[in-house]
């Protein structure tokens, strides 16, 4: 790579502008091995990945007009886990390093500042890191397949590209949605509660198929049902109820076939308006499936990309000094960014690893943080026979978790729960 810095991609721009203690601007991917992790070897593995993943080993710097990502002079120091995952990355930390490589007992975890990449890119990094670690520790030779990258190769230009402008169709899609219900609770300062629901992937799939939908749609519908019940209890008067929508990130690589390791996802907000009447789970499933099918098409997603990319192409906006730009972005984001949904349900799908790696890895997980007006968030990943549903919250009450997981149990999906906050 000729120059040692790069622009932020289109989706990444917002994260440095919005710094908020309620918003953990970080997500985590983790792999749990069969044996305790050796920190020294993990450090070596992290160093060995540096030339292959230039877009991950960066720190956030400030220019006059934009933030940019600068290559790290040395690989980050691996460290032991914190008492709770997804600790906010403060400005000071971002200036030195935007990635955390963490170990705890058998677990390797990587936390990314969200400007670097999204869950899909993060998992590719984690798989390659784990493969390298297994090679150093056990001499395992993991072939470069199933998302493990070849360390002897040079990074491909398309892995480092910002794919958003390439797939924009230039016509901004205008969708104004009314504000959705906002979940509330007693704020827990300086702590994120994590509840992991471990679910047999087969039973979950069978339950989804009973309703004729995919696992993502099924979980989204169960979440919507739980939130609808939550609202019904609090707001008996139907006319005053708010729309319940679930923010579902769509991996655009699947739609456009991009190979980028940077952010390339957009969110949709399927949901229902409870003022119109009650919905049962079957209806929720079909409504949400229909909404997602109608929106997650290459054509309409290109319009959504355009809505985000177009302002960035106006030279007058580009010329605005960064502090002013950040201020305005913050204003707009606070007004319209996050009020359209109640909670994220982010399904990374099935994480596959090369066969040579499988005997060493027990589980792989994906955890997203809370957001400004989302006190709860939910991320899902399937590894092997289990689906790991990670629900995180910055409030005290586990009410939504209780409703969601016990509803799954009712639907014949057995759930085992683990938490970090007993």
């Amino acid at each position: 790579m000729g120059k040692n810095w790069m622009r932020l991609d289109n989706a990444a721009l917002i994260f440095p502008a919005i710094s908020h203690t309620r918003w953990s601007n970080v997500f985590r991917v983790s792999a749990t091995l069969t044996e305790p992790v050796d920190p020294a070897l993990l450090q070596r593995a992290a160093a060995d990945l540096m030339p292959r993943f230039p877009s991950m080993y960066v720190r956030l710097k400030t220019g006059v007009f934009w933030h940019y990502l600068e290559a790290l002079p040395a690989p980050p120091q691996v460290r032991e886990d914190f008492a709770f995952p997804l600790t906010l990355m403060q400005k000071k930390e971002l200036k030195t390093c935007c990635i955390r490589v963490i170990y705890f007992k058998n677990r390797i975890a990587v936390e990314f500042f969200h400007s670097l990449t999204d869950g899909t890119g993060g998992i590719i990094y984690l798989k390659t890191l784990t493969a390298r670690y297994l090679h150093l520790k056990y001499g395992a030779d993991v072939p470069a397949e199933e998302g493990v990258l070849d360390l002897n190769e040079a990074p491909l230009p398309e892995e480092l590209e910002d794919s958003f402008p390439r797939f924009s169709n230039g016509v901004a899609l205008d969708d104004r949605e009314t504000d959705a219900l906002r979940l509330r609770g007693t704020r827990e300062p300086n702590f994120l509660h994590l509840t992991t629901g471990i679910v047999p992937a087969g039973a979950l799939k069978a339950a989804a198929h009973r309703y004729g939908v995919t696992v993502t749609v099924f979980l989204t519908a169960v979440m919507a049902e739980s939130i609808l019940a939550y609202q019904t209890e609090r707001c008996p008067e139907r006319r005053r109820r708010k729309p319940v929508r679930i923010t579902v990130p769509i991996n655009l690589r699947r739609i456009y076939g991009s190979k980028t390791l940077r952010n390339f996802a957009l969110t949709l907000n399927p949901g229902v308006d409870p003022r119109m009447g009650d919905y049962d789970l079957g209806e929720l499933c079909s409504v949400i499936a229909a909404q997602l099918n109608a929106e997650a098409t290459p054509q309409r997603m290109a319009g959504r990309i355009a809505a985000n990319v177009n302002p960035q192409n106006i030279s007058l906006i580009r010329a605005v000094p960064l502090p002013v730009k950040s201020f305005i972005m913050r204003l707009i984001y606070n007004r319209r960014g996050e009020s359209k949904g109640c909670i994220n349900v982010s399904n990374l799908g099935v994480i596959r690893v090369p066969e040579a790696m499988a005997p060493f890895v027990r589980r792989m997980e994906f955890i997203i943080g809370t957001q400004r007006s989302y006190p709860n968030n939910c991320s899902v990943a399937t590894f092997g026979d289990e689906t790991y549903i990670n629900m995180i919250r910055n409030i005290r009450e586990p009410e939504l978790e209780r409703r969601f997981f016990s509803r799954l149990v009712e639907l014949n999906v057995p759930v085992a729960v683990e938490t970090n906050s007993n």
């Binding site: 886990d81 008492a83 403060q90 629901g197 586990p398 978790e401 729960v417 970090n420 007993n422």
Partner: protein
């Protein structure tokens, strides 16, 4: 072990269900060894606050300034003289700007009125010391007005974050109008001409304020502006 209420499987040795807080009654008794925690036990140290050393330094600085002024006046002029102003000014700066920061939670509704009260006292001291007669008819009402406005805006913005633009509009209008009051007090204290300058701030502030109020109250305007001005 399963939770009897919500039916989820719990980690071994859990004392209660993490979802519904139902205590676990394990028929096997306490034989089941607790499972290893999935995250480290230690609670993260709260972020270090570096403001205490700075606060202590600034307090000492203010103390040193006021003490040296007093000592200078007492030894050279054999009277309190102007060191009274310096000392009271230091006290004012301390209580208005530094004192609240010693507290973890700064309650503006307490500290803002205290600050203005102290300012009032300071002005009274100057007025009495110089033998002026401007305190009751000018300094006192103007400080009280400023204090009232500041407290009102704190109240407005602390409770309820909705309709900020409307609140800003109302506040700007009130601030504009209060200029006229200030000029009135100036006028009766120092015999200046009424309406010499106050009309300019009144007009400009109220105009901006009224536009903001209109933008917030007339839905069409707001939608239009949002459509035209969004980035």
């Amino acid at each position: 072990m399963y939770c009897v209420k919500c039916g989820v499987r719990l980690t071994d040795g859990a004392a209660a269900c993490p979802l519904c807080r139902t205590p676990v009654r394990d028929p096997d008794g306490a034989e089941a060894a607790p499972a290893a925690p999935t995250y480290p036990e230690r609670y993260p140290a709260p972020p270090k606050t570096r403001r205490y050393p700075i606060l202590a330094f600034l307090t000492a600085l203010l103390l040193a300034v006021s003490l040296s002024a007093m000592i200078y006046c007492l030894t050279n002029l054999h009277a309190v003289s102007w060191s009274g102003y310096v000392m009271l000014a230091c006290a004012l700066v301390y209580f208005a700007l530094l004192f609240p920061f010693w507290f973890e939670k700064r309650e503006p509704l307490i500290f803002v009125p205290i600050g203005f009260g102290l300012t009032c006292g300071y002005l009274l001291y100057i007025c009495l010391y110089t033998g002026g007669s401007w305190f009751l008819s000018f300094a006192f009402p103007v400080t009280m007005l400023a204090g009232l406005l500041t407290t009102a805006s704190v109240l407005l913005f602390r409770f309820g974050k909705r309709r900020r633009l409307l609140k800003i509009g109302v506040l700007l209008t009130v601030i504009g109008l209060s200029n006229m009051l200030i000029e009135f007090f100036l006028c009766i204290t120092f015999d200046t001409r009424m309406f010499a300058w106050s009309l300019y701030p009144v007009c400009s502030f109220s105009l901006v304020g009224l536009v903001l109020i209109l933008c917030c109250t007339i839905p069409g305007w707001r939608a239009y502006l949002e459509k035209k001005l969004f980035l």
